[in-house]
Symmetry: none
Subunit: 121 residues, 2 copies
């Protein structure tokens, strides 16, 4: 997970905490960690671990998936851009070219390992 995504997650955490009406100190006490850690998580300076994130989701009344799906929109956008080649950087084109070659070879690969099933994606 990229550094950028942790910043997004941190913003969500901060907003969720404020919506729930907690201070960082209260959250920290509840989680058994320091106030500073909570701050670091919210600013994206330090990576939050899964169990702490899960506890925060419980405390703030959110589904864990809400915090996990951070960056999903960004991913979709990146893929969407793949179809508008004029906006792409050179380094991206390399990856897309390889991915397309891979997809083109997928059919023969499938015959190699499995049977004759077709996959609708």
């Amino acid at each position: 997970m990229s550094e950028k995504l942790y910043k997004e997650l941190g913003k969500k955490l901060k907003i969720a905490r404020e919506n729930a009406g907690f201070t960082q100190s209260q959250v920290a006490k509840f989680l058994g960690i320091t106030r500073e850690q909570v701050s670091y998580f919210e600013t994206g300076a330090r990576e939050i671990d899964l169990s702490t994130l899960s506890q925060m989701a419980d405390l703030f009344g959110y589904d864990l998936a809400y915090f996990i799906d951070v960056g999903k929109d960004v991913k979709d956008t990146e893929v969407a851009l793949a179809f508008r080649a004029k906006d792409l950087k050179d380094e991206d084109l390399e990856v897309i070219a390889k991915a397309k070659r891979f997809l083109l070879n997928l059919d023969s690969l499938r015959k190699l390992v499995k049977g004759e099933e077709t996959y609708n994606v």
Copy 2:
């Protein structure tokens, strides 16, 4: 997150890896961690961090949420199986991970750019 849940997560990871046709060593090399770590993650002996879990989800062709949300239905196993990696080299793993993300996003992509066509790969 309880210790028990980590064991469940580990089992899911192992099954997902085996379905994808990877060895622990291949996965470890892709992730830049040791083979032993992968083993510890799969047995639940050590806690997996969010970023590593996210990378594994990409590599195996699963949504990250699948490994987090207990009781969620298995999604896109067909896609994962389509990419059995038995005969592939370690260097290809990066491309495969990206190609899988590409496939997983095809559905939303289709809605974004086109109409109701289906794509057979």
